[in-house]
């Protein structure tokens, strides 16, 4: 039997390549440099399955990839899929939910503690040779344990963050979400609050909502003005959930104490973004899910999802819009 031809559009570890190679015929790619949309477009014509990271799966690509049956996204988010065009072309899209929750929740806690205790700022202070006396009254940070944290968006990652805050740090955890989560309320001893009350009462506000039309600029000038002066904002969901201009203004006018951010309205960030110059802000380049193990697990999942479909087995992790 002829093996189906497939394309892996982002470097994955050898064992995954070998696994796919046992079931399929791999299209040769040069992984020594970053693979572009064009690289994939050129090779897509007789390919039946593809594993991709953030490559746009659009009309143009689908028209050339006439034999395509499945595209498997390595990540959870799939805003690179043109869902309507994929449906028309009969191409199934899969993604990788449930794999990165713990890794992202760890990072959220890291951003929170780093911002509160000024870890990035004080590391630079020491490395830059500015530590000259033992007296450190000017290096004080904010306590984490025993404070109030408000989580906006209580999905799987929110629950993992709640577990860490509540069980680990004895924080008083409240949340806001479209629907109540009674299970999480009971398991982690957390309570539901209306949005404005949550903002007004929290020492840390953590944004974990997905980006939709309703959540675009969910955090704006009005919301920042409700927050406590010594409160810290953490965002590790999607940049546009926060009105970045309003956030910058709130930080400049010291209406909040600081922020820990992994996502931005524009990624990579512009070199003149005022956030880059702020000591009380911790910035990371969208790496909340970034560990080798989690990436490997995501890539394994994508590879298996693709192979299953090409071998005619029951599809798994199909994106919700294409189910049933």
């Amino acid at each position: 039997m002829v093996k189906p031809k497939v394309l892996i559009g982002y470097p994955v570890k050898d064992e995954i390549m070998e696994y796919v190679g046992e079931h399929c015929e791999l299209v040769q790619m040069d992984y020594s440099k970053a693979i572009t949309y064009d690289d994939i477009y050129e090779r897509i014509d007789d390919v039946e399955g593809a594993v991709v990271l953030i490559t746009p799966i659009d009309k143009k690509l689908l028209e050339r990839g006439k034999k395509l049956k499945v595209v498997s996204n390595i990540t959870v988010g799939y805003n690179n899929f043109d869902i309507e065009e994929m449906k028309k072309a009969g191409v199934i899209g899969t993604h990788s939910p449930g794999i990165l929750d713990d890794t992202v929740a760890d990072f959220v806690m890291g951003l929170l503690i780093s911002t509160a205790r000024r870890i990035t700022e004080l590391n630079s202070f020491v490395k830059g040779g500015s530590w000259k006396k033992i007296e450190n009254n000017h290096l004080m940070g904010l306590d984490v344990s025993g404070t109030r944290v408000g989580i906006i968006g209580m999905g799987r990652i929110g629950e993992e963050v709640a577990r860490r805050c509540s069980l680990g740090f004895k924080m008083d955890v409240s949340y806001h979400n479209r629907s109540r989560k009674e299970g999480a309320e009971e398991e982690f001893g957390i309570s539901y609050k209306p949005m404005d009350q949550l903002l007004a009462e929290s020492d840390f506000v953590i944004i974990l909502t997905p980006l939709t039309e309703e959540t675009h600029h969910l955090m704006g000038e009005r919301e920042f003005s409700l927050m406590k002066k010594n409160a810290i904002l953490i965002n590790a969901s999607r940049g546009p959930v926060v009105d970045e201009k309003a956030l910058i203004k709130a930080l400049q006018e010291e209406r909040i104490a600081g922020a820990g951010l992994d996502v931005y309205e524009k990624e990579p960030m512009d070199g003149d973004n005022p956030l880059l110059g702020m000591d009380n802000v911790v910035l990371s380049p969208h790496i909340a899910a970034g560990t080798q193990k989690t990436y490997d697990d995501l890539a394994w999942n994508a590879a298996r999802c693709m192979v299953r479909i090409l071998e005619g087995e029951e599809p798994v992790n199909v994106i919700p819009e294409m189910r049933g």
């Binding site: 990271l53 760890d106 890291g110 990035t120 530590w131 000259k132 004080m140 680990g168 911790v282 380049p285």
Partner: protein, 324 residues
């Protein structure tokens, strides 16, 4: 009755100063000036108590303070006390255990996550404007969740770290002079010989107090037993780790990185190679440095000194100097 007199050698909050003023006369160091031995000697000729942080208390100093009855450390560690000299001269010493456990444990989790997930490196790189598209693996880090936390020295702070680690589903192994059955039960912590802890830990947290036995407890031999992808975290006292050996281990890749709040010499020497290492988080001894905790510590230290001077005893007298 004549009021006792206290020398206040470090800055304390107004409320604590007022409390002392209600009970004692006091003189305070002029904090605009650099502290010198002679300057201190000039202040202690007629005092009954000294309130300080980290001041070396030995015969050299004590012979200039004939009336001195008690020295009160605004810290939990008291390796600045020469206990034999203090016993000989009949001077009591107090410390402030308990108050700072949560604040220090918070920072230790911050060091674990910011070292493991490379937050300080990523922040510096992003702020320098180096973020480029398609480099998602540039800051791949080590997962915190489900990794193994090794704790050497399971006292109150060790337990507070274990509690936090539980929120991350970390496996906890520990070594201590004596076993702690309660901690084993509460945190499902497993007691191991020192070597096994070194071999198993993904994150090795050193939490022993500094004594003759724990001086350079972690040296070349110990670092050589650690896993190549493990991190060393020290927020107890610098000399518990042989810094030269640690530098060698980091330079030669025996371990993946370190998170440090304490050093053999503080402030750290500007030529120290640790300052050049991207995989090392260096903080300026701020384990307990939050406003709230520092204020509480100063108040506990003030109460301890007043108790000793008014009643001749205090629960905060360090164990070695307690009356039997």
């Amino acid at each position: 009755m004549k009021r006792p007199k206290i020398f206040i050698a470090n800055e304390i909050p107004k409320s604590v100063e007022e409390y002392i003023g209600d009970h004692c006369d006091y003189v305070m160091w002029d904090f605009s000036k650099r502290k010198t031995f002679q300057g201190i000697v000039d202040h202690i000729g007629d005092v009954d108590g000294i309130l300080e942080v980290g001041m070396k208390i030995d015969k050299e100093l004590l012979k200039h303070a004939p009336k001195l009855k008690v020295v009160s450390n605004i810290s939990v560690g008291y390796n600045n006390y020469n206990l034999d000299d203090m016993k000989d001269m009949g001077v009591l010493g107090t410390n402030t255990p308990g108050v700072l456990d949560n604040t220090v444990a918070d920072l230790i989790m911050g060091l674990i996550i910011s070292a493991g997930r490379r937050i300080v490196e990523a922040d510096a790189d992003t702020k320098a404007g180096n973020w480029q598209k398609g480099e998602m693996d540039k800051f791949f880090g080590k997962d915190i969740h489900h990794s193994t936390l090794g704790i050497i020295g399971m006292g109150r702070i060790g337990e507070a770290v274990a509690k936090r680690a539980q929120g991350f589903d970390m496996e906890i192994v520990y070594h201590n002079r004596k076993r702690k059955p309660q901690a084993e039960e509460r945190f499902q912590a497993e007691y191991m010989e020192m070597d096994q802890v070194l071999q198993n830990a993904d994150f090795l947290v050193v939490m022993t107090p500094l004594s003759e036995e724990t001086h350079h407890l972690i040296g070349e031999v110990e670092l050589g037993k650690m896993k190549e992808d493990a991190f060393l975290i020290n927020a107890s006292r610098g000399p518990v780790v042989d810094e030269e050996a640690l530098i060698k281990a980091l330079q030669e890749g025996w371990i993946a990185g370190a998170g440090l709040d304490v050093y053999e010499r503080e402030p750290i020497d500007r030529k120290n190679p640790l300052l050049q290492m991207r995989n090392v988080v260096t903080l300026p001894h701020i384990g307990s440095a939050t406003r709230k905790t520092r204020d509480e510590m100063a108040m506990v230290a003030a109460k301890a000194i007043v108790e000793v001077l008014e009643k001749g005893d205090s629960p905060y007298i360090v164990p070695e100097l307690r009356k039997r």
